[in-house]
Each structure stands twice: as structure tokens, then as C-alpha cells.
Amino acid sequence: MEDMGAELVGGSRQHDILRPEEFWAVNDVSFELRRGECLGLIGRNGAGKTTLLRMLNGLIKPDHGKIEMRGRVGALIALGTGFNPILTGRENIYVNGSVLGLTKREIDEKIEDIIDFAEIRDFIDAPVQSYSSGMQVRLGFAVATALEPDVLLLDEVLAVGDGAFRTKCFVRISALLRNAAVIFVSHSEEQLTRICTSGIVLKQGTVAHLGTLKDCMTTYRDMQPENTVAQNAYHDPAVQRAELKLETTEHASGDDLHFKMHYSLDREIKLSLHVLSVVDESGSLVAVCDLLPVWNTFPAGTATPSFTVRSLSLRPGSYTFSLEVASVEHATVLIRKHFRDRLRVSGSIVHWCSYTPKVV
């Protein structure tokens, strides 16, 4: 209320002093973006990304500094803004398009394209409340990209939709990128590396890094707490012990990796599945080693086989391993276990991708 009062009398607010319980949601963030560039806006939840986007969109006024936007600004911050569930898809296209800034004529020209992109031609005249959430998202995205903005702000909207649709969205965004500047918020490494040309990492409102996407991803990854390894260790009662020992916890990318397994069983078991998985910091599966050709039967008693993975080329970072074993007789899982030991891989980061095989 105080702010409104100050605003209404044309005074300037007390900008520098924070009232109790206030904090700077976005503090001293400066950058410039040109047509054809795509900036990845990265940060943990609550870092200030959406607040920054709202300021760029003109919804919130900055307390300090200045924002200059040239041209039409389009924002996909929430898909389906203005949708009324009772109205049909077609009617909602007109409403949503109008809210986003399209004129009726523009919508008329593009409506067939919108319906095709959203792939809901059969249901376009049904009320939106009968649509699945995926269909609503597709419709919202289709309308929002029909607008050809000069600046496009995307706030975590590509987390939904199936793979085929996401690919279509990326193709559409790349096409828009030719004539626009794009700011893309995502937590997905895969999506960010796909279209972003540069990045900015926000941490509690301040800039932690501004530069190439590769460096930003490294900074972001270092900000994450180390994932506690899932406690889902499962042993069939026939197996008393299954352990993994890494020969070394430091590894240079491209070197061979030696490790030893330690098994204790009460009888001999023939295996149908014997797999070692390599998992990265965020829990994504990076590589899978099939151990069956090398070791397909567990003898009774204790065994400590050693294995070597040749030329393991991984992106520098920290990895953990998990084991999955199944037997021939029961079609069930014998062992499913994720080990705590971390392997730290060193090297130089050329590109942000987990598997980096060497070429000769």
C-alpha cells in the first residue's frame, strides 16, 4: 500500500532500503541480447528467474536501473492464459491470441496453422475442459508461437508434452530465433544445450555466471548439492552381499577404469541380466556396461571378480554406479543396488554432454 501511495503522488519510492522481511528477488543483473541469440536462464528454484522474466515483460517495475526492449515481446510464461474451459478450442484460440497481442486478422490467417501444429483438429470444437492437459499445452504453445515476436521469453514451458511434440517446438523456436532474441528458462541440460548460444546463472537473485553455455552449466552443476544416493538397495535373500569397489576415485577422461565386485551367495545362480550403470550428478543414466558376456554365473560362496572398462570417456564431473542383476530361473531381479562411491572425472570440457568418446 505504501508503494502505491508513493507512486500515485509521483514521488520516488525509498528504493535502497529494504523493509523488514523483504529481500532482493533480482539484484544487479545486467546483460544485453541481440536478435538471433538465445540466452539460457539457469538457476535453482527460487533464484529469481521468473521475477526477472516478469520485469522484462513489463509486469513488474524495477526499483533500480533500466530495461530497454525493442519490438514486440512475446512471453510463454503460462500456457493457456485466458483460456476459459467452457468455451471450445477454436473460441479459445481467438481469446488467447487476442490477449497475447494478435489481431483478429492475424489469427484468421494463422488459425489453420495453429490447429495443425497442435494436432487437435478432431477436437477443436469441443470445450477445452474436455481436453487432456497435454492437449491444452499443445494448444497454448501453438497459439503463443503464432505470434512472431521480436523478443521471446520462455519460462519452463517445454517440460511438458511428449518427445515428438517437444521436437516440433524446438524446430519452431529455432525458426523464430532467426528474427528474434530468445530467453529460455529450463532445468534440462539437454534442452539448454540444444538451442542456447549463451547463458546466465542466477543464484538467490544475483548473477553467478554470465558467459558461454558450457561454463554456465558447470557453474550450475557445482551449485547443486551432491545427490544423496537412493537407498533402494535390493537383494534377493539368496544373495548375502553385493559390493562394488572402485580402484581409484579420481579418473582422467579416456583412461581405463578398473573395479572389483564382491559377491556372497549361498548357491550357484545362472544370470540372465548383469548390468552396471553409470549415473551422473543429476541422476541421469549416462552409460550402461553389460557384464553378462564376462560373468554370467554366480558360483556358490564368495567371489571377487575384477573388471576393466576400456577408455571411459566421460565429461568431467562426479559419477556414481548402480548394479542390476537378474537370474534365469526366476524372472525377477536378484540385485538392484546403487553404490555411494563417487568417481571424479577430470579433463577439459569441450561441450556439455556426458559421453565424450575420443576420436583418432
Binding site: M1, D3, M4, A6, E7, L8, V9, G10, G11, S12, R13, H15, R54, M55, N57, G58, L59, I60, K61, P62, D63, H64, G65, K66, I67, E68, M69, R70, G71, R72, V73, A75, I77, A78, T81, G82, N84, I86, L87, E91, Y94, V95, S98, V99, L100, G101, T103, K104, D150
Partner: protein, 283 residues
């Protein structure tokens, strides 16, 4: 190709540059026309598509209120005299006109509240929300006016030359309603007290205004009839409609002029306060 337009966001208050501010307000209003119409059609379709009674809901509340008073008067529980026409007609006309005023008062707060999600996520000319609300008020007013015509036909009340002033009287009612509505909307968007208290207040205000009784000259009612700003609007509207002499025309014009100014100021305040409301509204 012309270079694209530049928009600048800075902490300064737009009041520093009043000429630009007023020009932007009117430009936005023009830009908002089409969107406002779309929002109005959207809300109208949605509102009545899922009701059985449909447009009847637009005039049900005033009918019920006036039936209450007609009953009370006919049974002698309440004695209202000096109306110059059959009492049922008087009460019906009064409550229908009053409902137009109340609609206008509630409009800005309701429109902002209903569009909360849109306002806090997308940048579009904010005037569209208010203008869409105005269209809805006008639509409901049209329904009530048609009912008014029916009332006049049934009780054989013929309008005279004063009918020419009736549109102005209606505009005055609307302007006053909007002025009040705009004044409370920034507070209403933040604090729920307003929205909850409003129906109670308007109920009571109706009794303080010559809606179901003719304007008094003595006592507390007389004082209120003179100083309640809605009184001259109400009375004049009814008089121009029903070919009665215009008794409060002077105060009427004063109130209308003040209302028009207040509507403009309210619009200005709405525009200036919107970024702060967005910050707090979430949605």
C-alpha cells in the same frame, strides 16, 4: 523496414511526464478495444452456457428486491406514498435502475479479480479488462432496460419529452458507479474485506437512497436524499423516464461532472498501481 518500437521500464513514476502518460492511456484504450470485446464475449458465453435460466439471472435480483417492497407496501406493513404512479411500477423501476449502479460499482473489482492470472502473467493493455467489464455492465443494463419497457407498458406509464435526457441520466448512474468502483478496486484487489463487505454496503445504501421510496425533504431521510450523491441520479433517471417533473436536476449535473472526473482519476490510479498489484497478487 522501420526500426522496432522501444519500450523502457524504469523505476521513475510516469507522473513525471503527464502528457505522455495521458497519451499512453488513450492509446492503450484504443488498442484494447478488440481484446475487450473478445473478453466480454468469452465471459458472456461462458456465463450462460452452463446455466439453465440463462439471461434471467441478469434481472432476478432486482425483481426479488422490488417484490419484497411491493408485498410490504400492499399489505400495509410499510406505507409509501406520493410516488405519482402505481407503487409496483415505482418499485420495479427503482430497483432495476439501482441494480445498474451496483453493477457498475462491482465491475472494476470483479473484472480485475477474474483476470488476476492474465494480469500477472502477460503484458497486454490493462484497459481491456476494465473495458470488457464495462461491456458486460452495458449488456446487463440492456436486459434491465427491456424489462423496464415491459413494466412501463404494463402499468401504462408514458414518457414525455424528458425521455431525451434519460440516456444522460443512465450515463450518469454508470459514471458514478464506476467512479466508486475504481476507487475501491486497488484496495479490493489486495484485501478481501472490500469484496465481502460490498454486497452488505450496497444493500444498506439502497435503503438510504430514494430507490423504493420517493425523495424526502424532512428528517434524516431528507438529509440523506439531498446529500447522498446517488439520490439525484436515481431520482432524475426515474423522472426522465416517467414524465415527471425534474426536481433535482441541478445536483444531478454536479454529481455527473464530479463522477466523470473521478472516473478519469480512478483510471489513472489503476494504471499507476497495476505493477504494484501484480507484484503482490501472484496468480
Amino acid at each position: 523496414m522501420t526500426s522496432p518500437s522501444l519500450t523502457v521500464y524504469s523505476p521513475e513514476s510516469p507522473l513525471r511526464n503527464p502528457g505522455k502518460l495521458v497519451r499512453d492511456m488513450f492509446l492503450d484504450l484504443l488498442a484494447a478495444r478488440e481484446l475487450a470485446w473478445r473478453l466480454f464475449i468469452r465471459d458472456l458465453s461462458a456465463q450462460y452456457r452452463q446455466t439453465f435460466l440463462g439471461y434471467v439471472w441478469a434481472f432476478l435480483p432486482p425483481l426479488v428486491t422490488s417484490f419484497t417492497f411491493i408485498y410490504l407496501n400492499s399489505q400495509g406493513i410499510v406505507r409509501i406514498e406520493g410516488v405519482g404512479m402505481p407503487y409496483p411500477a415505482f418499485a420495479l423501476i427503482g430497483t432495476l435502475l439501482w441494480q445498474v449502479f451496483v453493477d457498475a460499482v462491482q465491475c472494476p473489482s470483479q473484472a480485475i479479480f477474474a483476470s488476476k492470472a492474465m494480469l500477472s502473467k502477460i503484458n497486454f493493455p490493462r484497459e481491456a479488462v476494465l473495458l470488457g467489464g464495462l461491456y458486460m455492465v452495458l449488456f446487463n443494463m440492456a436486459i434491465r432496460l427491456s424489462l423496464l419497457v415491459a413494466v412501463m407498458v404494463i402499468w401504462k406509464i408514458t414518457p414525455g419529452i424528458g425521455l431525451l435526457l434519460f440516456p444522460l441520466a443512465m450515463a450518469g448512474l454508470l459514471a458514478a458507479g464506476f467512479a466508486v468502483g475504481m476507487a475501491i478496486s486497488p484496495v479490493g484487489a489486495l484485501y478481501g474485506d472490500i469484496n465481502r463487505g460490498l454486497p452488505i454496503i450496497t444493500q444498506f445504501w439502497m435503503l438510504l437512497t430514494p430507490v423504493v421510496y420517493p425523495p424526502k425533504t424532512h428528517g434524516l431521510a431528507g438529509f440523506l436524499s439531498t446529500w447522498n450523491p446517488v439520490s439525484p441520479l436515481m431520482t432524475t433517471a426515474r423522472e426522465t423516464l416517467c414524465n415527471q417533473p425534474l426536481t433535482l436536476i441541478g445536483p444531478f449535473f454536479v454529481v455527473v461532472l464530479i463522477s466523470m472526473v473521478l472516473v478519469f482519476l480512478g483510471w489513472l490510479a489503476f494504471r499507476l498501481a497495476m505493477p504494484m498489484l501484480v507484484e503482490r497478487m501472484g496468480g
